[in-house]
C-alpha cells in the first residue's frame, strides 16, 4: 500500500492522519510538500485537515493553486484514490476536482462535536463498497466552513448519480441539531464521477481509538484501504 499525505503550510491534521494510516498498514505514509513538482506512483493520497495558508482569501483557495495539485490531478487520472478531509475537502473543491461550494456554517460559529454519518446509496467506490446503504458511523467534526451548497442542477446530478457519500443523521430522539453546519440536504461528503475521489468534512482520523472519538473512523479507513489495495 503506497500512501501519501499532502502537506501545506498551516495543515495541522497531517500527524493524526499519518498515525491512523500507520496503525492500519504498519507503515508511515509518505509526506508530499506543497511545493513538490514530482511524486512517485501511489495508491492513495490524502489531503488532511487544518488551516492551509491560514484559510486566507477562501478556505483551500491558495492551497488549490500549489504545485503539488498538478501531481494530484495526474494521480487521479491514473485511477489513483484520493481522500480529502475537512480542509482537504475544501481544497478539492477549490481545485475543481469535486463540484459545489463549502461556505460558513449556518450558525456562523466554529463547531467541534460528534456526528452520526449515514452511508448513502452510492456508486461503486473503494471508500464505501464495504458498507451497506444505511450503515452509520460516529465521526467527529471540527470546522467553521463545512456548509456544503450546490445549485439545484448539481444537487440533482449528485443525487441521481449516487455521488453523495454521507449525510448527517439524527442519532437519538434527544438530538435536535444533528446537522452541525446546515449543509444542503445534510450532505457530509461527496464522490467524484468515478467514485475514487471522496471529499468529507468529518475527521475519520480522530476516531481510531476507543478512548478518543471511538473506532468508527478506524473501521472506515481500514475498509477503504483494503478496497484500494484490492
Amino acid at each position: 500500500m503506497r500512501a501519501a499525505i499532502a502537506i501545506f503550510p498551516g495543515s495541522n491534521c497531517d500527524r493524526d492522519m499519518a498515525v491512523a494510516i500507520k496503525k492500519i498498514t504498519g507503515k508511515s505514509p509518505l509526506k508530499l510538500w506543497h511545493k513538490d513538482t514530482e511524486a512517485p506512483n501511489l495508491d492513495l493520497i490524502v489531503i488532511p485537515g487544518g488551516f492551509s495558508f491560514g484559510d486566507y482569501l477562501r478556505c483551500g483557495a491558495l492551497a488549490a493553486r500549489s504545485p503539488i495539485i498538478k501531481n494530484i490531478k495526474n494521480h487521479i487520472s491514473r485511477g489513483g484514490a484520493l481522500l480529502g478531509v475537512c480542509n482537504g475537502f475544501q481544497i478539492l473543491i477549490e481545485a475543481n476536482i469535486l463540484p459545489g461550494s463549502l461556505v460558513r456554517n449556518k450558525k456562523l460559529l466554529f463547531t467541534c462535536r460528534e456526528t452520526t454519518l449515514e452511508v448513502q446509496d452510492s456508486i461503486q467506490s473503494p471508500f464505501l463498497s464495504s458498507f451497506n446503504t444505511g450503515d452509520c458511523l460516529n465521526i467527529p467534526v471540527a470546522h467553521n466552513e463545512g456548509n456544503y451548497i450546490a445549485n439545484n442542477e448539481l444537487l440533482k446530478e449528485l443525487e441521481n448519480n449516487g455521488r453523495i457519500a454521507f449525510k448527517y443523521k439524527k442519532s437519538s430522539e434527544i438530538e435536535t441539531d444533528y446537522n452541525p453546519n446546515g449543509s444542503l440536504s445534510d450532505i457530509a461528503g461527496i464522490l467524484s464521477k468515478n467514485g475514487r475521489v471522496l471529499g468529507m468534512m468529518p475527521h475519520p482520523e480522530r476516531s481510531i481509538n476507543s478512548l478518543h472519538g471511538g473506532t468508527d473512523g478506524l473501521k472506515f479507513l481500514t475498509k477503504s484501504i483494503e478496497q484500494i489495495v484490492g
Binding site: A61, S101, V103, K106, L108
Partner: protein, 82 residues
C-alpha cells in the same frame, strides 16, 4: 496602476452573515433598508500603464484565483491617483 476588485455573493446564494447583520441593525432601530449582502474588496497595484491591459490582467487574476466564480460576482475599477 491601482486596481480595486469588489467581490460579492451571487444573488440567490445564502448569505447568513448578511442576515445576521440585518437582524442587528433592526435591533438598533433601523427599518428602512433591505437586502444586505456581504462581500470583500481586494486592491492591487499592477505594473502596467495601459488601462486595457491592466483590466485584462486583473480579470484573468480574478478568474484564476481571486474570485470563486461558482458563487461570487466581481467588478473591477481602476483607481485614478489624484
Amino acid at each position: 496602476m491601482k486596481v480595486e476588485v469588489n467581490i460579492s455573493l451571487k444573488e440567490g446564494v445564502l448569505d447568513p452573515e448578511g442576515q445576521a447583520i440585518d437582524n442587528t441593525l433592526r435591533n438598533l432601530g433601523y427599518s428602512n433598508f433591505h437586502n444586505i449582502r456581504t462581500g470583500k474588496q481586494i486592491i492591487l497595484n499592477i505594473d502596467k500603464t495601459n488601462e486595457n491591459e491592466v483590466l485584462k490582467q486583473a480579470d484573468k487574476m480574478c478568474q484564476e484565483l481571486l474570485v470563486n466564480v461558482v458563487i461570487e460576482n466581481y467588478h473591477i475599477n481602476i483607481i485614478k491617483d489624484k
